[in-house]
Structures are given as structure tokens and as C-alpha cells.
Symmetry: C2
Subunit: 628 residues, 2 copies
């Protein structure tokens, strides 16, 4: 087994001292904070001591160096260990570690987040760090073409999450030998033994069946750890990920708690902490660093696109599906911006991500039907500075909600597209109809939620998303609808469009996506009856155009009809009324039309009518408001 050239000369006796320090500091920080997970840190201390001194190629003075290896704690609750490592390499002070951990206003949070420059992604919801690592490794192998490795410390409990297997499946599918998961098999979960306890051979069979090489080791034998890490490191440019399965003992190093139930997530009381530190040989202040990264890197020339990359143009009145415009615009954007990458969950012919995949096969990653991994890969790619656009049916983004939520904590910049929204899809039935996606995406911290109604606006908003920080989401529609806007019209995020207005407006009709077309039709009907309606396209659901909404409410006696192809809670209706009430608008008379029943199959027209969100119902609601 070859030892890589970059292996440091640091001896195993020194590493053993470092491991003791990591344990002692994990205990000290958590006892001082009064919360945290010392025992889950102690099981992995030997693994980390060897990793950071001999195998993690990292310039601690340049945490943003593109050459650095990556270290992701998928078991984010072992934050005391991670932060103790940061102290050991000299980037976090003793004072910050002991007195800052888990304190208000401090950066050493209960679970790691990228507030810290050495952290790529937020973890703490289990089973996410490894899928995120797949995204980082995809960037390293296929886009950056740098030799960095992505080391991911996983817990054994989290292997119960299906997302871990989605990640290993994709890691082997994409030959991510640069991804090195280290599973800390300490046998004990939060409330009892793990499902597989110390059945390392079962872990091995599963890992191997999913296409990775498995190295089963004693996670407390420093030489064995070193050999395994060296093996994985040496083969990191190869074709197969290596998973290190480390048999460990929870609470290792403190005999009172070793391998005992009841000590998950509990700091030791001060007297116990004192005994533990004594047993571990006392407080140390070793400062030590491992190998620096290789500066090798081969940023490949971006290949010429294989498709027409002119910005798409759609004539007013011509029918086009917004999902088609999404694909068209993404191809054009990709020509201008080589950092744009696309991913899809095996529905690319429906979402039209197919167009990007065809034009730029080197910048497209097929994630198959694994929406959690789809989101996580986007997060990992974004951590490396790429501009990911990920797409699937809008309904199926619910599968990844926990990952979206965690992405917001990571401060990730990713763009999501969800096609086939609402009852408008028709015959496929409710399982395929997103009726909760606006509520889900609006409640994500810092999110942007867009819902265009025609090709021109959809294409413009794709460009806007590329320049948008945080998690942005575009809801697209299955069917084709007439173009509303001329080429060149601009659609700022946070804006809206007033499509009909006049001095005599009596009521405001608000729609987005498919219901905008219904609102326009309703306004025609009402106009024929002598009722003047203002019509607003709320294409930017979050942030929303409060000024335009308020002006409309004031101009139309507070009479507002909102129609949305979504359940009534948390979507467009809430966005509008939250904005109006937040602005202090008084005297509102709101008719909120939404999908209040459980739809079945039918045509889009039948279902929009059944739901009460079509033109007839909008017109009727307007008349009702005026009759009050």
C-alpha cells in the first residue's frame, strides 16, 4: 500500500497526543456550553487526528484556495470535534473554542455552517453532508479538474437515511474516487443502538453493492487508519470511491461512558469532565498542520455549444410553454456564462433541461430519480462557485424540502425549476400536480419565488435567477399559452406587470402563471359588462411588488381578486395579502380563489373550472366584491 508523497512526517506518537487533545477539547467545549455531543466526537477523534496531519491537503491560511481538499462533517453534531480540529491547526483560539461554542452571536454554532470559512455546507440534518460532498466531488472531477479530495465524516446512524445510498449510488455512477466517506461506526445512536450496530460486514456488503470499495478498519488504530486513508488518497484520481468503515467506540477515551447508552448529545457535568480530562492525560495545546494542497489544476476550455445559443424570442400571441422557454433560455445563458451547469431528476424531456444537456453535455449532470441528491449536488456545485440550475416536476421538489431548508442555512446560491405545476396539468392526476410548492419555497429563508406566465417572461427570469443570491425557484407550466410580452420587456425580481389599468378601475385581478391568462380573460368579460378591472401579473411571488399592489388596492377600493393554481395556504394569495397588510393597507375586500378540493384527472380546462380559478370564477368573484 503506497504512502503518498505528500504524507507528512508527523509521527504516530504525536498524532496520538493530538487525538487526546481533540477528545479533551471536545469535552471542554461542550461542558462549558452546557450542550453538545462529546461522545460522538470522541469516537471519531483518532480518524480526524490522522486525517488532518497526514492526508487532508489544506492551506489553513487560505481557506478559499481552490486547491484545498474539502472536509465535510456529515455527522454535524460532532461539531466539538471539528472545532477542536480548528483549534489544533491554529485557526480558532482556545478562548473561542471554550467560551464561544454554541453561544449567542458566535460563529461556532451547535452544528457547523459556512459562516466558518473552512466549512463548505451546513450540516446537522443527517444524511446530507455526503450527498453535498457528491456535488463538490463532481465539480472537482469534471469541471475544475483539480486533484483535491472530498473527505466526508459520516455517522453510522445516518446510513438509515436513503439519501446516503442515493449519494453512494451517484458517487459510483460518476466514478467519484475523489470522494472519500469515512463512516464512524460507533454502534450507538441517539435513543439506543443503531440498526446495524457493529455489523461491519453488512456495511461492507451494502457499500460494495453500491459500487464503492470498502475498507473496514479499527477506527482507533492509528496505523490502520493511516494506511486506509493513504490507500483512498492514492487512488483518488481513479474510478471508484473508497468508503472507510471504521469500527469505533462512542465516548472512546473516557471509561465511564465508553460504549454506554444514555450519553448521546449530553455534555459531561463539570466533575465528570474533570475526570475524563484526567483520564485522557490533561489539557494540551498542540498546534499542528498537515500537508499543503497540490496546486495542479486543469481548468478545461469550455467546449463550444452544440446548439443555437441566441436568446429565445417569442411573438406575442404565439403559444409556448414556460417550461420550454426555461430550456431555451438556459441554453442561451449557458453560452454567455460558462459557470452555469444544469441537473435534472430524469425528467429532462419534460422540464426541457434536455436542451441544455444536449448543448453542453459536459456541464449537465443527470441525477436520475433522486431528488434529494439532485438538490444536494446543486448545493455542492454551488459551494465550488458554479451556477447550478436544477429541475424536476414542481411536485417532486417536496421530496427535497429538508435539503432546500439546509441549503438556505448553507447560504447556497442555487436555482430550481419546477415544471408541471398545479391542476393545469390535467390527466396525470394529483400525484403529479404541485399544489404546495409556492408555500414550501416561500417559507425558505432568503428565497426568491418566480412564476412566469409566458415565454418572454420565463426566459428573462432565467437570466435574472443566474444573478440572484440564495435559493431561487421558478414554477413553470405544462401547457402552452399565448405570449403576452414583447421581446425586450424586462422583468426585475420583485417587480410585477400591470396589464390592464385605467382611471375607472373598480377591482384588481391578480394572477400568476396560468391564472394570469384566466384573469386577463375575466377582465375582458367584465369590461364587456362595463366593469373595469385592473390586472396584475405577479410573476415575482417573493419578493413581491408591494408598491404596485398597494397602489392597485387604493385605486380599486380595496377590492382584490387573487387566483392561484395552488392550495389556499401559503401561496400567491398569502404573498399578496401579507404584502398589503404589511404595508398598512386598510379596507381590503379580498376574494381568494385557490384549489380547495382534492383534484382528480381531467383536462386542464376542466380542472381549472372545477377548482374555481378560471376566468368565469374570477369574473364572478369580481362581481361579488362589487355587489357588497
Amino acid at each position: 500500500m503506497a504512502t503518498p508523497e505528500t504524507a507528512s512526517e508527523i509521527g504516530l506518537d504525536t498524532i496520538a497526543e493530538l487525538a487526546a487533545q481533540l477528545r479533551v477539547d471536545s469535552i471542554r467545549s461542550s461542558t462549558s456550553a452546557g450542550s453538545g455531543h462529546p461522545t460522538s466526537s470522541m469516537s471519531a477523534a483518532d480518524l480526524l487526528a490522522v486525517l488532518v496531519t497526514r492526508h487532508l491537503h489544506y492551506d489553513w491560511d487560505e481557506p478559499h484556495s481552490a486547491a484545498n481538499d474539502h472536509l465535510i462533517f456529515s455527522k454535524g453534531h460532532a461539531s466539538p470535534l471539528l472545532y477542536s480540529v480548528f483549534k489544533a491547526v491554529g485557526v480558532v483560539s482556545e478562548d473561542e473554542l471554550i467560551n464561544g461554542y454554541r453561544r449567542f452571536g458566535q460563529r461556532l454554532e451547535g452544528h457547523p455552517t459556512p459562516i466558518l470559512p473552512w466549512v463548505d455546507v451546513a450540516t446537522g440534518s443527517l444524511g446530507q453532508g455526503l450527498p453535498d460532498g457528491v456535488g463538490v466531488a463532481l465539480a472537482g472531477k469534471y469541471l475544475e479538474r483539480r486533484p483535491y479530495r472530498v473527505w466526508v465524516l459520516c455517522g453510522d446512524s445516518e446510513s438509515a437515511e436513503g439519501s446516503i445510498w442515493e449519494a453512494l449510488d451517484k458517487a459510483s455512477h460518476y466514478n467519484l474516487a475523489n470522494l472519500i466517506p469515512i463512516i464512524d461506526v460507533n454502534r450507538l445512536g441517539q435513543s439506543g443502538p443503531t440498526e446495524l450496530q457493529w455489523h461491519l460486514e453488512t456495511y461492507r456488503r451494502r457499500v460494495e453493492a453500491f459500487g464503492a470499495r470498502a475498507l473496514v478498519i479499527d477506527g482507533h488504530d492509528l496505523a490502520e487508519i493511516d494506511q486506509a486513508l493513504a490507500t483512498a488518497e492514492a487512488d483518488a484520481a481513479g474510478e471508484q470511491p473508497t468508503v472507510i468503515l471504521a469500527k469505533t467506540i462512542k465516548g472512546r477515551g473516557f471509561s465511564e461512558v465508553e460504549n454506554k447508552e444514555g450519553w448521546h448529545g449530553k455534555p459531561f457535568p463539570p466533575d465528570m469532565a474533570e475526570r475524563a480530562i484526567a483520564e485522557l492525560g490533561g489539557v494540551r495545546n498542540i498546534v499542528i498542520r498537515g500537508p499543503l494542497p497540490s496546486q495542479a489544476g486543469e481548468q478545461p476550455a469550455v467546449p463550444a455549444p452544440t446548439a443555437n445559443t441566441e436568446p429565445p424570442q417569442y411573438a406575442v400571441g404565439d403559444k409556448v410553454a414556460t417550461r420550454k422557454a426555461y430550456g431555451d433560455a438556459l441554453v442561451a445563458l449557458g453560452a454567455r456564462e460558462p459557470k452555469v451547469v444544469a441537473l435534472d431528476g430524469e425528467v429532462k424531456n419534460s422540464t426541457f433541461a434536455q436542451e441544455f444537456a444536449d448543448a453542453y453535455p459536459d456541464r449537465y449532470f443527470e441525477m436520475f430519480i433522486a431528488e434529494q441528491q439532485l438538490l444536494a449536488a446543486a448545493t455542492g456545485l454551488a459551494a465550488r462557485g458554479y451556477i447550478p440550475f436544477a429541475s424536476t416536476f414542481a411536485a417532486f421538489w417536496t421530496r427535497a424540502f429538508d435539503f432546500i431548508r439546509m441549503g438556505a442555512i448553507s447560504g447556497t446560491n442555487i436555482r430550481l425549476a419546477g415544471s408541471h405545476a398545479g391542476v393545469e396539468i390535467g390527466a396525470d392526476g394529483p400525484s403529479q400536480m404541485a399544489l404546495e410548492d409556492l408555500a414550501m419555497m416561500r417559507t425558505v429563508h432568503g428565497s426568491t419565488v418566480l412564476y412566469p406566465s409566458d415565454g418572454t417572461s420565463a426566459a428573462a427570469l432565467v437570466d435574472a435567477m443566474a444573478a440572484t443570491q440564495g435559493i431561487s425557484y421558478m414554477r413553470t407550466t405544462r401547457g402552452s399559452f399565448p405570449g403576452i410580452y414583447p421581446t425586450g420587456e424586462t422583468f426585475p425580481i420583485g417587480g410585477s406587470k400591470v396589464l390592464r389599468s385605467g382611471d375607472q378601475d373598480q377591482v384588481t385581478l391578480i394572477g400568476a402563471g396560468v391564472t394570469l391568462h384566466e384573469a386577463l380573460s375575466a377582465a375582458e368579460t367584465l369590461a364587456a359588462e362595463g366593469i373595469q378591472a385592473r390586472v396584475i401579473d405577479c410573476y415575482s411571488v417573493k419578493p413581491i411588488d408591494t408598491a404596485t399592489l398597494t397602489a392597485a388596492a387604493q385605486a380599486t377600493g380595496g377590492r382584490i381578486v387573487i387566483a392561484e393554481d395552488h392550495h389556499p395556504e401559503g401561496g400567491l394569495g398569502s404573498a399578496v395579502t401579507d404584502a398589503l397588510l404589511g404595508a398598512g393597507q386598510q379596507n381590503l375586500s379580498v376574494a381568494h380563489l385557490a384549489v380547495r378540493g382534492m383534484p382528480g384527472s381531467g383536462t386542464g380546462e376542466e380542472l381549472l373550472a372545477w377548482a374555481g380559478v378560471d376566468a368565469d370564477h374570477i369574473a364572478a368573484a369580481a362581481r361579488d366584491l362589487l355587489a357588497k
Copy 2:
């Protein structure tokens, strides 16, 4: 390989004819509808023909018989095949199949739902039918103790979903030999070949590594299918699930499309359909049934509980966490209602499901850290008439949102508890803080959303949930807060409590859970300043008590302060304002206090203050409204 006694005498030649009929009818129904998935149906037609004639023990005249086997189409898009089976056994007419499929107002929806009496759970979001089947199989093996089998037809594409592996893991962990997944490995997904194509040996290794027996067969060889199903059936009372891995051809039986890309989810145009039907030997109208179920069953005596089962009582002023009250009340409920079962995602010592697990070990199912399977198991148990309560951290229910959404389509009756909600949890940081759960659960069709503030109300609401249809959710709090309500107080769903009110009320303060305590404190402060505030406990967030809210708004000049430990979108604030605006309430002046930033670690008090949802901020907001 033994053939079970119950195997029918129906010959393979007849079964071959039936298989052709199933293909022809799949083509006819989808061509007539103009949408649907004929090719995905044709690949599995032979499997189903053998299954329904010889191995599915089912009394088609008594679909609700507890003795019946279960047939779940995890690949719900193969609904033409399922409905063609229903025609073949004589429960759906030719006319309904051909003219009803995917039509408005009809029950043969694009993907199967339990509107049909022979369907247990809605499918169509892939990777869910098998996890649901785990729940049904748990009921059969451990609760009903009946010999029925749960046959689940899975697609190969959906094996990319981690939830499939969560399901197989739990199936082997719980020795569910009564669960028989049949994987239709037809090699082609929606937009291209599947990840593993026809690498049946890779599937075999994965399935075996996850603890199941794998039988690899030619999915078009009737004798081989029969033998495999017989083997699985014969061992269904054993200890290990059997997975049948059937190598099949997409579009099998129609040479123009067999094994060709570009035919997923596309009905054949009429001329092609005509050629296909001719190639398959024309239309048939075989009506045929397989074996009847065994009536054996051993409903075990419910063991006496091992804990105190008196309804819990909490004194006013005594501090108790609502999550503790949840556990206490669940134990008491379980003593009265033997159909109550509990599940948890390996945090039972935090959610207090531990108490139920200790009292009724036979009615508790540990799902480890696999929230998708946790939700699906509850759905499967509910399909068998049990009353499941499933719990995890509120933040981690986001992991199961797609399953919750599909559960609503199933019309499932399940109860969810989410602990550790909001910034109140303090030191663990944002990954553990549910700040999106109210929005998520409110937007689910037919859901009930509860958020009690003390032990008495939490315990009462646990009882109410047991009697509630649909998906009900209780948000519980980490910390202990003083009891507000005396023993015996009732808490109807849809109600609220007015905790302070008087003729001179100038402003209404609305809270729930932790913010109710803050609102009460704010009211004290305001009262000392001479400002009278009405305080409402909105413990029932959905449905919400519109009458009480409207009365309060009218009594206090429309001045309302809402405080919630949740992001501003879609939660308590939206619930209150949706209700008021929906009731036509005018002249609202709303101050909506919510968690608008990204929290870090800290104490609960520090973070409630930082978020601006504590008593000081509520009082200040009230003063501001009065100063306007």
C-alpha cells in the same frame, strides 16, 4: 421449489392469453384517453397475469376483507395495467376502462388512488409504494397476525430513490417476508436508459446486501414467474423478504416500440394502437380470478400496558414541556384505544414517544433515522385501520414532505408530532429548528395543524388527534413552560382560548406555543401602562377559530399583533390573516412578528428576543399600533 396449495388450476396458456389482454387493454385505455403509460404497463403484464391468477389471494367481491392480500403499484404510472387487471377480474367494466380512464369526474385516475376500493395507497410519486407496503406488512405480521401478503410492483427507475432502500432496510430489519417487491427491470426510464439498465446482478447484490432474498427471473417467462412467485408466497411466513427481480422489455408485445427509447408515457396514436392490438392477437374479454384468501387470523390479545396509563394532569403554573405531555398523553390514550400505534425516527427520547414504546413495546415501531419510511409506515398502518402517531423533530418532517403530500392524496388518517420547534430550542442552531413546518403542514390538503402551549392543552389535543380524519400535526416545544389551563379544560379542534379580555381592550395579541407565553407577559406589561390587550391562544392553527379572531378584531379596532416562532411565510400569521380577510374583516392593522433572519446558536430567550418575537417586542408592536 414448492407450489403452495392455494395455487389455482389456471393453465399457463390461459395466463398467456390474459397477459395479451392486459397489454391490449393498456393500449386501448391509454390511446382512448390520449395520455398514459402503455409501454410501462406492457413490460409488467406477464408478471401481473401470473400474480392475479395464481398467487394473489384476493376476494374481489370483498375488497375490504381483512383477509385479502394487498397489491400496490409503486410504479403508479402503470395504471393502465392495474385497471386492465381490474377489468380482467370483473370489477371494472370495459366501458369504464376505455371511456373512463383519466377523464374528469371518473375514478380511474392517471395514477391509482384509494378512491378505488382495491387500492390501499395513492402512488405516482416514485419510491413510495414500497415504503407504504412496509407499513401494511408491519400491520399484517405484528398487529393483525394474518397470513396475507403485500405484493408491490416496483419500477426499476424508482430504485434510484433512497426511500426504496429505506424500505428494504426496514423490511429486512422487521423480517417482513410477507412483503414481496417485484421489480420490473425494463431498462428504460422516462428520458433515457436507467442508471443500472439490465445489470440484474447489481440489483441482486444491492437487494441481498439490504437483507432480502433476490430471485432474478425472465419477466416474460410465465413458468419462471410462477415459480418465483410461488417461492416467495410459500416463504411469506418466514423471516426474510423476497425481492423478485424481473428482467423485462419495455413495450413488450409490440415490435415497433419494444425496448426503444422515446416511448415513455406516450399513448400510441390510433393507427399504431391498431397495429399493436393486431400484433397482440386482438381484443379479448377474459374474466378470470385467482385464489381466495385464507381466513386464518390471530388478532392477538392486547397485552396489558406496563406503565401508568392514567390521563396526565399538570397543575397551573407548573412547568412542563409540551413534548413531554405528548408522550404522557399517548400512553394514556394507548390504554383506552388498542388500535393506537406509535413510530419514531430514532429520537424517541427527545419526542417522548419513548414513553409509549416502553408501555406498549408491541405497538411501537422504531424507524431509525429514515423520516420518509417513518411517514410511509404510518400510512401503511393507517391503511389497515390502525391509529398511528409518528414523531420526530419538527424540522425533520420536511424530509418526508412528498410522502405527506401523497398521504393526503391517499386520504390517510395519520397523526404527526414534531418536537423542538423554532428558535426556542436555542443552542443546537438552525439545522434543528423547525421554522417552516407550519407552512408545510398548513398547505397539505385536509390537514389539521395544532400548536399547544402547555401540558394540559397538549395532552387534550393528543386525544383529539386520535379522533381526527386526515393528516393531523402537533408542533411541540423543547423547553418547559408554566401550565396555563386547569385539568379538564377542553380544546376542540378549530377552537381557541381567549386568555385575557375586557370591554376596554385596545389591541389583540395572538400567539401559539412558546409565543403565547410571551404574549401573556406582554399583556401584563401593557396593562401596567394602562393598555388593555386581549390575548388569544391559537392552539388550532388549522382549522382556525375565525369567529373568535373576528370578534377580537372588531373589539380592538382591527389592531392585531401576531407573534410566531416560525418564518413569516405561511405560518400562524398567514392563518390568522387568511381567516380575517376571508371573513370580510375590514380595517385591519396587523403587526406580524416572526423569525425573519437566519438564527444561530444561543439560549432560547436570547433567540426569541433576537427574532423579535418575545414579550418586549410584542408589547412594543402593540404600542406602535396604538400610536398610529
